[in-house]
Symmetry: C2
Subunit: 300 residues, 2 copies
């Protein structure tokens, strides 16, 4: 297990992941899913302490919400657009003819009301439209997310599970959540025996304009990541991030603070699949042999 | 709560479901999710007795697999096709221009390697390609599924959770699983206090040709459903089904029995969201007041 493809192969041979023929789209075994469940419960216990509203979202998100997040402008290459067939018998016959002869049938489809979710937190912002209570709003949300980046690296899945603690409130409330929340999240993950480093990071903004946006995000230290080794010569992979969105969501979703200012938001996002992989990489494939503190933290 | 819209509104007012603005696409509360988790565990215990291979699949499925299931031919109106953007800066500028002015940008997208999952069992068939062991293969699978049928009926979600026990084997093994498996599944659900009726049913095949296929499926009693009352004057809704696929998957996926015949398959499919709604409809919104046997069956 000295390279990432090797680690991916080892996960499949150990029966933890089931390949489906598409890179980054895999079935999870019971053991793998039990680790993910333990992680969800760990984050949920923290969310309960914060009094956060707990919501599990489906893997698809309202089209209007998605458009308002600016994802199409910033990360068009990562999104999953969902289209549907609304034609009649005649159109269907044409669709079948083209499908069976390997021809493109894209033009027979229509835009649907949904996109694949890109982040677990997107659906909470339209819920906040209007004026916030003085203490702001805390959410504890999770969903399957999709990002189109086919890769043989097991840590770069196209369909993956994200769990986020989100605060929508004043600039100070948001900044504090990003700073103290990320710190607490990292404490939780270190209790699982993971070796985390905290680094300033940027999102993978698309294209020429994106390069400038990424530099700006780095310069202002809006995004911090906690990285841990996974496979490939202990290559450091981001498994948790703390993100200060400023008014990126507050403005388009018309959210204002109790004082009437545009709301800010921040999230601490746990990459559940990457954390799971980091645990298997660090402690081995058999939780029976994991350190006692890791086991009791995950499954108290 | 005398009509389905009324029950849907009551679920939202009770904080069990969070609407997202698209019919049939809702967030789930912690309590709702706890019921779903209890149901998954109940089915998993049965799956373990059967020695079934347990896999949790992501909400997207390999395009080739999807095409081989014949879903495009039979249910084109229900599928969710996923497309992606693979263009350059110039294409992206055009995409943004059209998106921001509300114009169609479908033709700027390409087909992706995946579809939204329509059934939890589809990914297991390519895993079986080749010759089966004499006892056949048992799978215990779950995933979020998507069917494009927008409706205000809370029991008709577009994005919903399915859990299936699948047998791939000889015609006798498949038929026995459909018959005895469905019977056992119904016993489990009756233990939850649900009033189930078993009826012969058909899948919603598309178009003119589909009508004949539906009649055929009914005549040969290939699909049985267990229905329970949900909302709207106790309207009977299918919450579990037993399906004999015959060689519908064995043939295209080149699966053969130990004797060299084309394999048959069958599944018992639990509609996890519909079972959850049936429980809330029958027993009320507060599990603290549910009958003791229901609670101990769900959360032993």
């Amino acid at each position: 297990m000295t390279d990432s493809a090797g680690f991916g192969t080892a996960l499949v041979e150990a029966g933890l992941l089931y390949p489906t023929g598409v890179p980054g789209v895999s079935g999870r075994s019971r053991l793998y899913a039990d680790v993910v469940r333990g992680l969800h419960d760990l984050v949920d216990r923290w969310g309960a302490e914060l009094g956060a509203i707990e919501i599990q979202f489906p893997p698809v998100v309202n089209r209007t919400t998605f458009e308002q997040t600016n994802y199409i402008q910033s990360f068009p290459d990562l999104m999953g657009v969902i289209e549907v067939f609304t034609g009649d018998d005649r159109d269907h016959a044409e669709l079948c003819r083209r499908s069976e002869s390997g021809k493109d049938w894209n033009d027979l489809l229509d835009a649907s009301e949904v996109f694949l979710a890109s982040a677990a937190c997107h659906p909470v912002y339209p819920m906040c439209t209007g004026t916030l209570p003085p203490e702001g709003c805390h959410f504890n949300v999770q969903s399957y997310c999709f990002r189109h980046e086919p890769s043989s690296d097991p840590a770069r899945m196209q369909s993956f599970q994200m769990h986020e603690l989100v605060v929508v409130g004043t600039p100070e409330q948001a900044q504090r959540h990003r700073d103290e929340g990320l710190e607490h999240g990292i404490v939780l993950l270190r209790r699982l025996g993971l070796d985390l480093a905290v680094v300033t990071a940027n999102d993978p903004f698309f294209g020429r304009l994106g390069t400038a946006m990424a530099h700006n995000q780095q310069d202002e230290a809006l995004k911090l990541e906690g990285t841990a080794p996974i496979g490939a010569d202990d290559h450091a992979v981001a498994i948790i991030s703390g993100n200060c969105h400023r008014d990126h969501f507050g403005a388009p979703f018309a959210i204002q603070t109790a004082d009437g200012d545009v709301a800010h938001s921040a999230c601490v996002a746990f990459g559940m699949d990457r954390i799971t992989l980091a645990l298997f990489w660090k402690h081995g494939f058999d939780p029976e042999h994991w350190p006692a503190e890791v086991v009791t933290t995950l499954w108290p």
